[in-house]
């Protein structure tokens, strides 16, 4: 479990520090990492690109993954079923 990063509120099964990565490169890497997790698992993401503020909620909306923590640059995303 990864539960001690800033913005934590829900324990996470994995963590990813994307640094300054943004736009399509960020969500492509995020996609890869989310698909590697089992359904229901939580990824603790750190994304410092200023575009992430709007991009991460949009990506979660598009893909169906649940954004459970949204405090830039700290995010927690629960992988959808299936």
């Amino acid at each position: 479990m990864v539960g001690d990063s800033p913005g934590a509120g829900t324990a996470a099964e994995a963590a990813y520090d994307a640094g300054d990565l943004g736009c399509g490169e960020l969500v492509m890497e995020l996609r890869r990492r989310m698909l590697a997790l089992p359904p229901g698992a939580v990824l603790a993401l750190t994304a410092r690109d200023p575009g992430a503020v709007l991009d991460i909620p949009a990506w979660c909306h598009l893909t169906g993954h649940a954004l459970i923590t949204d405090r830039h640059p700290f995010y927690r995303i629960r992988r959808k079923e299936g």
């Binding site: 399509g24 490169e25 492509m28 996609r31 598009l62 893909t63």
Partner: protein, 120 residues
Amino acid sequence: MAGRFCVSLTCAKDNSDKATVAFVIANAAVASEKETVVFLSTEGVRVAQKGYADDIREEGFAPLKDLMANYAAAGGKILVCSPCFKKRGLDEARLVDGAVIVGGAKLVEFLSQGAPCVTY
């Protein structure tokens, strides 16, 4: 979420900034689970040729070769304008992964079924 998305690219090394950003956006679309097509026409067809993009790297972005490889690996398709490709004497035996040569009807079919399109 179902849906389609098209990125139209008309540049290659004549504007490597646009060529790179086109594939960044295409990556965003395919990573967002959209059925995604990059349509290459006019000068843009050159990036479909294996090896051509190997030395394109814009500051602040991943190398174009990597962006294209990640896009194809995630299921993204590349449609290459046939007359544009032929006009430039390019080699259809050396297409990058995910690329297929098409006529205009294939693009029209894809867009007519309801797909937003952004052009670079």
